[in-house]
């Protein structure tokens, strides 16, 4: 019984009770039958689950997004894609295993899939640097995306990173430039690009592979300009205020959809993606296919135009209309 989150406690208690009852049938109440009592507890369990998972706070969802058993990029590649052949290296400095990429099939379509990859255990996490990429990871991703563009393969980008790695080597090899170049170059790729935030969407490190025609997000994933802990440390001078920061930053999938910052929220099984990775992968696959097929029908010029306009209109500001001098709130117009 490991890896349970604090808000799951009532569920665990009921599950334990049920298990106990099944193990020792003689322990059940005398006035109702065994089957009835099991059914009663099962019903209560279902209700409790629904109650809890439909009313999660932003902070609760972040805990699910960071769950150690949550499916990672390679899990989705295994379940939602087929025939994956991994390609390695940035051809410049190193192979960054915090970013994976390669050819794969999504349904009937040959695609290039890339994504940030966390480790399942300590050993793998050291290899994957906990999913935080160095400059080489972003440069490898761009190399593969340019390759895909050259040979007409659509790009699927799976995002799950706490952020780009804040390290000495990363700075020495210019991680800021690696991300910035990706932002610029992804804007000019003529193939369809679909990004999906499957866990953590950590700031520039996520956006560095996130410039796309469509941006999807799993129900319990988050996408934020700064980690809630980082925001709390700066604004509240207290990392423990992370739950408050998570709320204020509006970083859950539903919040982002309401703000128009993502295109679709992909539902997860009740209890989170880790409770049923296969089903979650199937749902994600269907969503990716739907968007991919739509964008495949567009001309390269249309894909570029739509991608530009999509990002061009993000922002809210006030400006005075020259004619009236009256302040108006505006979202930058679609150009």
């Amino acid at each position: 019984m490991k890896h349970h989150l604090d808000f799951e406690k009532p569920i665990i208690e009921l599950q334990n009770k049920l298990a106990e009852l099944k193990k020792h049938p003689e322990a059940h109440s005398l006035d109702i039958s065994f089957a009835e009592e099991v059914a009663l507890i099962e019903k209560k369990l279902e209700e409790t689950k629904r109650q809890i998972f439909l009313n999660l706070s932003a902070w609760d969802r972040i805990k699910i997004a960071r769950h150690p058993k949550r499916p990672f990029t390679l899990d989705y590649i295994r379940h939602a894609f087929s025939d994956f052949s991994e390609l390695h290296g940035d051809r410049l400095f190193a192979e960054d295993r915090a970013v994976v990429g390669g050819f794969a099939c999504l349904g009937p379509h040959k695609v290039m899939v890339i994504g940030t990859q966390k480790g399942r255990d300590t050993k793998e996490n050291i290899l994957r640097n906990f999913g935080s990429a160095h400059p080489e990871g972003y440069r490898k991703a761009l190399r593969l995306m340019k390759l895909a563009n050259k040979f007409g393969l659509p790009i699927i980008s799976l995002i799950d990173t706490a952020g780009a790695y804040p390290g000495i080597g990363a700075e020495e090899r210019h991680i800021a430039e690696a991300i910035a170049v990706n932002l610029r170059e992804m804007m000019l790729l003529e193939v369809p690009i679909i990004a999906a935030v499957i866990g953590e969407g950590g700031s520039g490190g996520a956006l560095g592979i996130g410039v796309a025609n469509r941006v999807l997000i799993l129900e319990n994933a988050y996408y934020s300009v700064i980690s809630p802990e980082g925001c709390a440390a700066i604004l509240w001078k207290d990392r423990a205020a992370a739950a408050k920061a998570a709320q204020a930053l509006k970083i859950t999938a539903r919040d982002l959809l309401a703000l128009g910052l993502v295109d679709e929220v992909v539902p997860e099984p009740l209890g989170g993606a880790h409770t049923d990775p296969e089903t979650c992968a199937e749902t994600l696959k269907a969503a990716l296919l739907k968007h991919l097929e739509e964008i495949l029908a567009w001309s390269p010029a249309e894909r570029l135009k739509q991608r530009y306009e999509k990002f061009r209109r993000f922002g809210h500001y006030l400006e005075k209309r020259p004619t009236t001098g009256e302040a108006v709130e505006a979202q930058s117009p679609k150009t």
Binding site: I179, C231, A245, L261, R307
Partner: protein, 315 residues
């Protein structure tokens, strides 16, 4: 250009509000902000406040008027003090040629950010204290013989953080430059993306880089100038994709803040880490140019970068 005189600003705000990463703990900035206190030590009470400034690098007491005349560069040790966007524009453009764009654009509290203090009140405080509407001033100007699209950031407004206004004003500037086939210069100083606008701030990184992609595709020059400090979201977007990237001496430049790196890696940071000189040594920037040489050098670069096009366009 509305302000032509160099004025010494004593901001009422002691702490700059950082953005994506905690503020760089480099001494020059904090010392600058605490300048009025230093000048008003009990011992020197007879000296009127705001006449002298102690250089945080060499300790020399510099006469403010001389410091202003020298573009806020210490006459003894060449330490570069922070300079406001208006002063910088004045130091770079030909007199009366700066046509400001989107001067009235202001930020809105789109998330209704409920922090320790409301975003709206923060904005009002900083607008009052700095006389700026937001952290960037953009416009079209002339520098020497060149018509240039110029964007200049100001660190004194919420740590130069990039929210929707910074992103939108710069994107409009870049789009205007592309449309009018103008070279572009952006002078950056920023703690990163502005937290108060959440993901809208992050998206400004993609938005500005998108506009730059098309400016670059039109083979128009873009010079990015990095000044103290330029970090995080701004560094990981438009500031890092110039055809030329130059920096002022001693400027702190990087992606993650040094404290974050130290906490994450548990390693000692190399000497001079994340300074302009460190970046130059690692091959990450084209040149380090002193503020006093900046205008002449930028014009020289533009001479080269626009030489072919000018001939072709017959300008």
């Amino acid at each position: 250009m509305s302000t032509t005189s160099f004025t010494k600003k004593t901001l009422g705000l002691e702490t700059t509000e950082p953005a994506l990463t905690p503020p760089p703990a480099a001494p020059p900035v904090s010392s600058f902000n605490k300048k009025p206190k230093l000048a008003a030590k009990p011992k020197k009470r007879e000296i009127p406040e705001g006449l002298w400034t102690k250089c945080p690098k060499c300790g020399t007491m510099v006469f403010d008027k001389e410091l202003d005349e020298n573009l806020k560069v210490c006459l003894q040790c060449e330490h570069h003090f922070p300079i406001s966007a208006r002063e910088r524009i004045h130091s770079l453009v030909e007199t009366c040629t700066f046509e400001e764009m989107d001067a009235d654009m202001t930020s809105v509290d789109v998330l209704q950010f409920t922090g320790v203090a409301s975003y709206t009140s923060k904005l009002q405080d900083y607008q009052r204290a700095t006389g700026l509407k937001d952290a960037v001033i953009t416009g079209i100007c002339r520098m020497g013989p060149h018509r240039v699209a110029l964007g200049v950031m100001d660190f004194s407004f919420l740590g130069g953080s990039m929210g929707s206004v910074v992103g939108e004003k710069l994107t409009r500037l870049i789009e205007r430059a592309t449309e009018k086939t103008l070279p572009l210069i952006i002078i950056s100083t920023s703690g990163g993306a502005r937290m108060y606008e959440g993901m809208f701030s992050l998206m400004q990184m993609a938005k500005t880089c998108a506009a730059l992609a098309y400016h670059a595709q039109a083979r128009l020059p873009y010079i990015s100038v990095l000044t103290h400090p330029t970090t995080a979201g701004v560094m990981a977007s438009y500031a890092s994709v110039g055809d030329l990237i130059i920096a002022e001496p001693g400027a702190m430049i990087g992606f993650a803040g040094p404290r974050v790196i130290k906490d994450t890696t548990q390693a000692e940071l190399p000497p001079g880490f994340q300074t302009a000189e460190f970046l130059l040594d690692h091959g990450l920037i084209d040149a380090i140019i002193s503020r006093n040489q900046m205008k002449a050098q930028l014009i020289k670069y533009l001479d080269y970068l626009t030489g072919g096009q000018k001939a072709a366009a017959g300008l």
